[in-house]
């Protein structure tokens, strides 16, 4: 019977053989271990760098968001309008990630969007969140914005003859003139007063039927031969003709001046014994939005009409010498009152063509305005001294 060799191997030989096996296995294990560890370290390093890359990208996006918010704030002459509509959050997308910008209550944590109730505050916060990959970076800044609506501030800076903010509360009967002339208007229908809540928390009248008007008594200071009429208007209906401003005498061609909205296109009518002028803008106002309408008339520039700071219409005939002494509010017998919110038709006292909508910051300026002045009045903002300012030291970063 054959003998099993292993049983006959010396013990030392069996140990040598086993040692070789162990050596090989251990070596393989070590090599695999080192390899796996190296790959893991490399992967971790790569992930770390990817995160670093994304953080840089997110930071650039967050910084961009603050710029975009600043522009948004500037482009809206009265940003509180947007806040009142809860349009306080904006989302933007770039190839490298996304940005979320918010207008928030200053110094409040967690971040809380401003609302109409908050917008009379001077200080607001701008929060920008940039995202890229797994990284997020946030940037927060606080800005001070004038508490008085910018629209009134900027008009007041032009030293108008009269300026009626029309921000009276419900129940008021007098429409203040905040200029030294203090020629207050009279609300004819208390129900129209304060019908609209402005984003600042103040009110504006809402005209929607005949009789919802403001009547402003004639004043000798209005006997101007060069002037600018400015008004913020918020039309709420599209009608063939709506009266906005009029100072009409009794009887045709006796010195009538009126501004109407014809299918939302501003139209200026000027009638005298010498001439009968009509100029209609090719551009209309936006429905359900505040727009700044400026009509500037004088001997040098004729009629120039601006909507939201942009020149939309010129008519040299309005500045012609033939008009002589019968320019607006001329000393030729037109001592009738100004009516806002409707048109006074040919027979004085007959108020018709009511406006459907709101007005505020109505101003009569005793000179022509330059194009640049009107642009600033509407305000691209960045050149305006009364626009928002960053609160020093308020900008804070957080990256994660």
């Amino acid at each position: 019977m054959p003998t099993d060799p292993t049983r006959t191997q010396p013990r030392a030989h069996r140990h040598a053989r086993a040692s070789v096996y162990v050596l090989v296995l251990v070596t393989v294990a070590l090599v695999v271990g080192v390899g796996v560890t190296t790959v893991q370290l490399s992967t971790a390093d790569s992930q770390r760098v990817e995160l670093l890359h994304d953080l840089h990208a997110a930071r650039a996006l967050a910084r961009s968001g603050l710029d975009l918010l600043a522009q948004r704030l500037t482009d809206a002459p009265d940003w509180r309008d947007a806040a009142a509509k809860s349009a306080t959050t904006a989302a933007w997308t770039l190839d490298t990630g996304s940005i979320t910008g918010r207008i928030v209550r200053a110094g409040v944590t967690p971040l809380t969007d401003v609302t109409a109730a908050d917008t009379s505050s001077m200080r607001i916060g701008l929060a920008s969140l940039g995202r890229s990959g797994e990284a997020r970076a946030t940037l927060y800044a606080e800005v001070d914005a004038p508490q008085t609506p910018l629209a009134v501030n900027r008009l007041n800076a032009l030293s108008p003859v009269s300026l009626w903010p029309m921000t009276e509360a419900v129940g008021a009967t007098s429409a203040r003139d905040i200029r030294p002339l203090a020629n207050a208007g009279v609300y004819s229908n208390p129900n129209s007063v304060g019908g609209v809540t402005l984003p600042s928390g103040e009110r504006a009248p809402y005209f929607n039927k005949t009789g919802d008007i403001v009547t402003i008594a004639h004043n000798e200071a209005y006997l101007l031969n060069a002037y600018t009429f400015a008004v913020w208007v918020y039309p709420t209906a599209l009608r063939s003709t709506m009266g906005l401003f009029s100072k009409n005498r009794s009887g045709r061609n006796a010195g009538d001046f009126e501004i109407t909205l014809k299918s939302l296109r501003p139209c200026v009518v000027f009638q005298t014994t010498l001439t009968d002028l009509t100029a209609t803008s090719p551009t209309g106002l936006s429905l359900d939005e505040w727009s700044l309408l400026v009509v500037s008339i004088g001997p040098s520039g004729g009629l120039r009409m601006f909507i939201n700071g942009s020149l939309v219409l010129t008519d040299a005939a309005f500045g012609g010498a033939s008009l002589g002494k019968v320019l607006l509010l001329q000393p030729n017998g037109n001592t009738n009152p100004i009516v806002i919110g409707a048109a006074v038709q040919e027979n004085a006292g007959v108020v018709s063509l009511p406006l459907a909508g709101s007005t505020r910051a109505v101003a009569l300026i005793g000179r022509e305005l330059s194009d640049a002045e009107v642009s600033t009045l509407y305000s691209n903002g960045y050149n305006s001294t009364d626009a928002w300012q960053v609160v020093p030291g308020s900008i804070r970063w957080h990256v994660e």
């Binding site: 006959t8 080192v34 790959v39 840089h56 975009l68 522009q71 500037t74 490298t96 960045y382 994660e400």
Partner: protein, 192 residues
């Protein structure tokens, strides 16, 4: 020689087959290990390149935010270099001066080459007008926003591409260098 004798000889040590297999296994393991280490080393190089590229791009973006939106003293200007400016960034004073600028190798604002970067590295800047309400959309003219894209490449490989938007109103913001890092999770948590 009898079978019993051969068994006895074999049992004294490792057979040729065992030795061959052992060497084969060790060789394979060694090769795999070296390959892994080599791959890791190459990956580490690429990772380092990407980190460097990100820093180069971020540095350029950061500096762009410290510049004016438009050529100082001018209400508007075409994109790119203005009078008296050159490819050297120290002459740049507004956010679009670097439009179309390609540096290979990347250079400091002073114009000096940044050490450690060879000529196969490049940093390229593109600037376009964009819509401030949709900054990913190009604009035909200046409507108060410019989009910057900074690409960093090595040997033609894109390693980093960052974008940023500068707006005209952004001139009123404090330069980003004046900011303070804080621990504030509230901002990030909101609207997430």
């Amino acid at each position: 020689m009898t079978g019993s004798a051969r068994s006895t000889i074999a049992a004294r040590g490792v057979s040729l087959v065992e030795a061959t297999l052992s060497m084969l296994v060790l060789s394979l393991a060694g090769a795999a290990g070296m390959n892994a280490i080599g791959q890791a080393a190459a990956g580490r190089t690429r990772t380092a390149e990407r980190a460097d590229a990100a820093s180069l791009a971020a540095d350029h973006i950061e500096q762009a935010f410290a510049l004016a939106y438009v050529e100082p003293g001018a209400a508007a200007a075409a994109l790119g270099l203005d009078t008296g400016e050159s490819a050297t960034r120290s002459t740049h004073d507004d956010a679009d001066d670097a439009a179309g600028l390609t540096q290979s190798p990347p250079r400091r604002r002073s114009g000096a080459a940044i050490s450690g970067y060879t000529s196969d590295w490049s940093r390229q800047a593109a600037v376009v007008w964009c819509d401030p309400n949709a900054p990913g959309t190009d604009a035909k003219e200046d409507i108060n926003a410019k989009r910057l894209t900074i690409d960093v490449r090595r040997s033609g490989r894109l390693l980093a591409s960052f974008q940023a938007v500068r707006t005209r109103a952004g001139d009123r913001l404090v330069p980003s260098t004046a900011t303070t890092v804080i621990s504030n999770t509230a901002v990030a948590a909101s609207k997430s």
